[in-house]
């Protein structure tokens, strides 16, 4: 057991490193003055407190590490309790679902919570869509937001130019996004791992840059405004005589539309979930999982990896496109700012945090992430900083996600040891 001197020495080194790192970046602050000349001032107080914080934090981490012992946190929960926990775990999904259905009833008068819930559900849907590509097929996609953008712009353009309704545009947006998915899928078929990630990232950026620069079509950085609101199959949710409230004979309230949007995105997310679960049991879903586990073995077994990958991209993009169309109709205004790389990273973080392949995990992760983001609403500039730190720490702490569940749907129940006699050289 290392003594206090060791801990102190380690903390002192950390503090020194922090001092050098922060010396200029924190200790000195520069800004362009009124004449365009750079002016600067010192912030040694902040520098000192940051270094002190690193020193104290380093001691605290070391103490916690010693207290937990070498085997980590796994032995904190006794086995008997783990059994209870797993029983409780099976009840989580239905309980959550019932609660989600009741959210508009419980929080009917709290517009803020309803809006937040819609946002969370949008990310749940995006997470489930990306989960098909990343979690099931194992293809790391850093440009998922491109499909989200294609869906949103498809709906916005079709609706504002041709006056098509939301329900006509929704499938079109999905199909268009899906086509883009195939378009991206074709060239990247031969790539894997990191290269695939970087190409999808480049693709996402290209889509965003084209949206910014193709001003005549997309309105450029100004975006598209005045996107029509969705209707309940043709019945608008407006205060007018033909509105839903008038038809039902109840008093109009703007909350009706929010509640409608809530159930709309909930239905879309649940359809995504249902389709994914069904697909996992079909040959194509099995092929995706096989592809994720081992591409070479997959090819050796005669699985067509081309169609498998393309269908994964297309399915993921389809859901992304649906979510995009919903986003456009909810906001009523879209601009390229909503489709940056940060969004891709956020959705990817949700999928990875959720355990890459676990539907429930993704939903919980979306809730945690978006909820966590919301907590930092007042501190806009610290939000992404905290997000980045959380991403790094989570990767170190639980690289396989909070719910580390990546088991294939089918596997041999019993692992058989093969005797060395059978595989000796010279024998079949």
């Amino acid at each position: 057991m290392p003594g206090f001197a060791f801990i102190f020495k380690k903390a002192a080194i950390s503090a020194f490193v922090a001092l050098v790192l922060f010396s200029l970046m924190i200790g000195i602050r520069t800004e362009a003055g009124p004449t365009g000349q750079l002016i600067y001032w010192t912030r040694f107080g902040e520098l000192a407190s940051l270094v002190a914080a690193v020193f104290a934090g380093s001691i605290a981490i070391e103490l916690i590490r010693q207290w937990l012992g070498p085997s980590g946190a796994a032995n904190l929960i006794p086995p008997a309790m783990q059994e209870h926990l797993s029983t409780a775990g099976r009840l989580v999904a239905p309980a959550l679902l019932i609660f989600t259905f009741l959210v508009p009833v419980i929080f009917y008068n709290q517009r803020y919570i309803l809006d937040l819930a819609i946002l969370v559900l949008t990310y749940v849907m995006l997470g489930w869509g990306l989960n098909v590509v990343v979690g099931l097929a194992g293809l790391l996609d850093l440009g998922y937001v491109a499909f989200y953008a294609v869906g949103a712009y498809s709906y916005a353009l079709l609706a504002t130019t041709f006056g098509l309704s939301f329900w006509t545009c929704l499938p079109l947006a999905g199909i268009l996004a899906s086509l883009w998915g195939v378009l991206l899928g074709f060239p990247v078929l031969r790539l894997r791992g990191d290269y695939l990630a970087i190409v999808t990232l480049a693709f996402g950026e290209i889509v965003r840059l084209v949206i910014i620069n193709w001003q005549s079509l997309t309105g450029g950085p100004n975006g598209i405004s005045g996107i029509p609101r969705p209707t309940l199959f043709g019945i608008p949710l407006t205060p007018g005589d033909d509105g839903l409230a008038a038809l039902l004979g109840i008093e109009f309230s703007p909350t009706h539309r929010i509640v409608f949007l809530f159930y709309l995105i909930l239905a879309m997310a649940l359809i995504t979930n249902w389709v994914t679960i069904r697909l996992r049991r079909l040959p194509i879903g099995r092929a995706w999982e096989a592809l994720r586990e081992d591409e070479v073995a997959c090819r050796a077994l005669g699985i067509n990896t081309t169609t498998t990958k393309l269908s994964a991209f297309a399915t993921g993009a389809l859901f992304g496109g649906f979510a995009g169309a919903f986003f456009a109709t909810r906001q009523g205004f879209i601009s390229p700012e909503s489709f940056t790389f940060q969004e891709s990273a956020l959705v990817l973080a949700i999928v990875v945090l959720g355990g890459m392949g676990s539907q429930l995990g993704v939903a919980l992760a979306a809730f945690t992430m978006i909820g966590g983001f919301e907590l930092f609403r007042g501190l806009e500039q610290y939000r992404m900083l905290v997000f980045g730190i959380a991403m790094v720490l989570l990767m170190i702490w639980r690289p396989r996600g909070l719910i580390g569940h990546r088991a294939p749907t089918v596997y041999l129940k019993q692992a058989q040891a093969i005797s060395s006699d059978l595989v000796k050289e010279g024998h079949g």
């Binding site: 200029l24 520069t30 790539l191 950026e205 290209i206 790389f341 500039q381 991403m391």
Partner: protein, 305 residues
Amino acid sequence: MDYFAQQLINGFVLGSIYGLIAIGYTMVYGIVGMINFAHGDIFMIGGFIALLSFLVLVSIGLTAVPVILLIVLLVSMAITALYGWTVERIAYRPLRHSFRLAPMLSAIGMSFVLTNYSQVAQGARVKPVPPIITGGYMLHEGSRGFVVQLSNIQIIVVLTTVALLLIFTWLVARTRLGRDMRACEQDQTMAALLGVDVDRTISMTFVIGAALAAVAGMMYLLYYGLVDFLMGFVAGIKAFTAAVLGGIGSLPGAMLGGLAIGMIETLWSAYFSVEYKDVAAFSILIVVLIFMPTGLLGRPEVEKV
């Protein structure tokens, strides 16, 4: 023709900067096998530190420009190298033997951390710098009064790059550290068995890569006269494109790729459209990865089962 010659010069200078960043990518990819996503942001941090140390030096009364530049160069290399070391120590080393996506995601997280750290620390606005090195040479005066110029700062950027490249090539080819690095690139386990300290070698790789990125950051600051917290992302992707184009893992390749990307970007901006220059760079990345994933000077990768 004169216009073209001028663009070639500009492209060469920009390419040198990309090349310096690309070396960091290619070395790390060669040894650890991961894309150090935060490397572009290390370049940005290098630019900021050069700016801040420059301000400090000027305000304490130093006036000799060469002395200032030398001190700024050394200070920004040292501090940025420590950033590189810290990033590796915190975000990558614990994930050395994790599943393959973990370091990549950790690197993306680290990239966000660095970007937003500089935004929080230094504000979101662009920091303009008055030109520090002025003057230049007129190479050729064209018929319609168009002048092909080679400015002093361009000469300094190219000379510094060449000097660093020579030092670096010597380091990899002739020193103990370079031998360790090449050994780790081939087989980490075997290298460890033969007494190479793998962790230390990988750390040193990050340190050297970050120091070179710091030089690139400083050159960018001198050449373009501005830094901002977002410049790391796009520059990083372009430098990565350069590393891939040159053949990942190959040092001369990284430099060659950097020059190629710099040229293409400059010529594209000059003859087609400035708005789409990033689209052009990203498209090159995609095309290169699809049609020649081993790049110009890379070794073909044998697929092992």
